[in-house]
């Protein structure tokens, strides 16, 4: 056979792709459209309800940030091809463990926080290890942990303190060096200044008169932003990010070229547990108490955020920015219906509709990418 000269002509059967279609081929597209849509919707029906005043904005931003924190973990894990259904139970477990250690065993709060994080991340690693070793779907393995952790949480709370809500953490936060990292507020100076300048609402009565109603940005929001930036950077800009895509896209093909698939998956389970812990710790610091029933259904809400954000349930495709937008949509809808005085049960209807629309749209986008028909 003679050496064929490289045939680098354009294939005349491939239609040129319009810029619009090219723009469509991004995992975040659904999230971007959805975000614009819900903002327009609530600007129309709840624009005069205070939803877009400083207090209102802070209200739905905090809720969105909560979703964002757990969505980052769920997103990277889903792209790596696995699920974690134990997130919600992990949130309850982490809070109660922290409270028992700090109140019942009188450990300093910082030590309780560190021990809780270490244990929960270890549980995440066990989740991952079991999935890898048994080859079972992560759906089943983490479903088991959903029940195991919730059961242990309630049992532990009742066994040590005879109640399912453990309070009294506020006193422990005073003077603790680690607690402000989760329960503190930043930019307080800026908000005081904005209050003095009359840009935002201030208290007019009581012992806080003159101080702004919103006195700073909660650390939860800072965590959400940091985790989103870190997750996006890790996924799209690093070698490890490529391994995450590869592990979820086709684990066997990735192994053939030397990607440490098992390590990647176990680390992502650990990250998911870490995110659940961040959520739990911020909540405990905010309320000053831990409760055994916290975090119920959060695993599904995290997965919904991720799917709205354009990730495929089967793994190998998705975006952290998309998941963050999904979290914003979730937060805005949940709080927006409240501001609009809508029947709160409608929230679930709305959620179902958004979820279904997002999944259908994502399937369509994936077909364009892979050229399937």
């Amino acid at each position: 056979m003679t050496d064929a000269s490289p045939d680098v002509r354009r294939d005349e059967r491939i239609k040129p792709v319009s810029p619009f279609r090219r723009a469509l081929i991004r995992p975040e597209l659904g999230g971007i459209c959805g975000t614009i849509l819900v903002f327009l919707l609530f600007a129309a029906i709840a624009g005069d309800s205070g939803m877009f005043a400083a207090e209102g904005v802070m209200n739905w931003t905090v809720v969105s940030a909560q979703f964002m924190v757990i969505a980052v973990g769920a997103c990277l894990l889903m792209i790596a091809g696995e699920f974690d259904l134990s997130t919600g139970s992990m949130i309850g477990f982490a809070g109660v463990m922290m409270a028992i250690l700090a109140i019942h065993f009188s450990l300093p709060l910082w030590l309780a926080i560190i021990l809780t994080f270490a244990f929960c991340v270890l549980v995440g690693a066990v989740n991952g290890w079991l999935v890898i070793r048994t080859g079972l779907p992560s759906f089943i393995v983490t479903l088991a942990f959903l029940y195991i952790l919730r059961g242990l949480t309630i049992w532990g709370a009742v066994y040590f303190t005879r109640q399912t809500i453990i309070g009294g953490l506020n006193e422990k936060t005073a003077g603790d060096w680690l607690a402000p990292l989760f329960g503190g507020k930043v930019l307080t100076g800026l908000f005081t200044w904005m209050g003095e300048a009359g840009w935002i609402a201030t208290f007019t009565r009581g012992n806080r008169a003159g101080q702004p109603v919103i006195d700073g940005v909660p650390m939860l929001i800072v965590w959400a932003i940091v985790l989103v930036i870190f997750g996006h950077w890790l996924l799209t800009r690093t070698k490890f990010g490529n391994w995450i895509f590869a592990s979820g896209g086709d684990a066997q093909a990735a192994r053939y070229v030397g990607v440490p698939v098992n390590r990647v998956k176990i680390l992502m389970f650990m990250l998911s547990a870490f995110c659940a812990c961040v959520f739990a710790t911020c909540q405990v610091m905010e309320f000053g108490s831990a409760s055994a029933d916290r975090g119920l259904l959060k695993e599904f809400e995290a997965i919904i955020c991720v799917v709205i954000g354009g990730a495929l349930l089967t793994g190998g495709y998705g975006s952290v920015i998309g998941a963050a937008l999904g979290a914003i949509i979730f937060g805005v809808v949940q709080q927006g219906l409240f501001f609009a005085n809508a029947e709160s049960s409608l929230f679930r209807v709305f959620l179902g509709v958004i979820l279904l629309t997002a999944v259908i749209m994502n399937t369509y986008i994936r077909r364009i990418i892979t050229g399937e028909r």
Binding site: M1, R237, N242, G316
Partner: protein
């Protein structure tokens, strides 16, 4: 000349099933050695031993004349033996560039801010693809949009770029159309001219004859000898693969069309 890889009297038993009953095979630099055989002849088992997936029950593997033991596919890869599997080579949802560099991503910057050097990766990917005769819409084009032949070519280009000395191609043409097959065969030819030893596994005699320098036929776990190019024709190879008489009968009833 020493062979790049030589397999001596390889035997492989799975329980009481004898998959390979003493097969010898070698591949030299710059040649395409075709391994032919019908389904169940032991081709897959044989290449899995060569690429380190299985260990032989008996027999020796020699790389550049010295005996080695591959305990994992990574060990074989480190010795310069790359395998391109028929369907497990690429991840459709990832871009060509990300697939090309998967597992060996170039990095830049200092720890802990080391990043995947996408600009360099994209540039090299496009250049290597061009050399193989594939014009990409862009390095970020998803592999899912490529045809089967193009995917094989990306996998081959990847193995060559990362320094493969021996390239094992497992049935690269079995699922392809006429034109795509021609593309893959010309890629094999191009790779061979770069001094790489190619092991081409196929059950299609015509594809083998198009590019092969030597031909080894496996039948029921045994080798029926190795033939040089020119000393053997399609009919003889077909006969050896299918095992004589039975096939001759079938063929005559079909008018010699296969």
């Amino acid at each position: 000349m020493t062979a790049l890889v030589e397999m001596r009297n390889i035997k492989k038993h799975f329980g009481h099933v004898i998959a390979l009953a003493g097969v010898s095979f070698d591949v030299h630099a710059g040649e395409c050695h075709c391994l032919l055989g019908d389904n169940g002849a032991g081709k897959s088992t044989f290449i899995k031993i060569m690429s380190g997936v299985y260990q032989p029950t008996e027999g020796e593997v020699l790389v550049d004349g010295s005996p080695v033991v591959f305990d994992s596919p990574r060990a074989a890869m480190a010795a310069g033996i790359a395998t391109v599997y028929q369907d497990l080579a690429m991840i459709p949802l990832m871009s060509v560039s990300r697939n090309f560099w998967m597992g060996r991503e170039p990095e830049k910057g200092v720890w802990p801010l080391r990043t995947f050097d996408l600009a360099k990766a994209d540039e090299i990917t496009v250049a290597e693809m061009r050399r193989m005769g594939i014009s990409l819409r862009g390095p970020d084009q998803a592999v899912g949009t490529l045809s089967g032949g193009e995917r094989q070519t990306v996998a081959i280009a990847r193995a060559v770029y990362f320094g493969a000395k021996v390239l094992i191609l497992d049935e690269p043409t079995s699922a392809l159309g006429v034109r795509q097959t021609a593309n893959v065969l010309s890629t094999i030819d191009r790779v061979r001219k770069q001094g790489i030893g190619v092991v081409f596994i196929t059950h299609n005699v015509r594809h083998a004859l198009a590019v092969g320098d030597r031909f080894t036929v496996l039948n029921r776990g045994q080798t029926l000898g190795t033939a040089e190019r020119g000393s053997v024709d399609a009919a003889a190879l077909q006969d050896m693969m299918a095992g004589g008489q039975e096939m001759a009968l079938l063929e005559s009833s079909l008018g010699g069309t296969i």
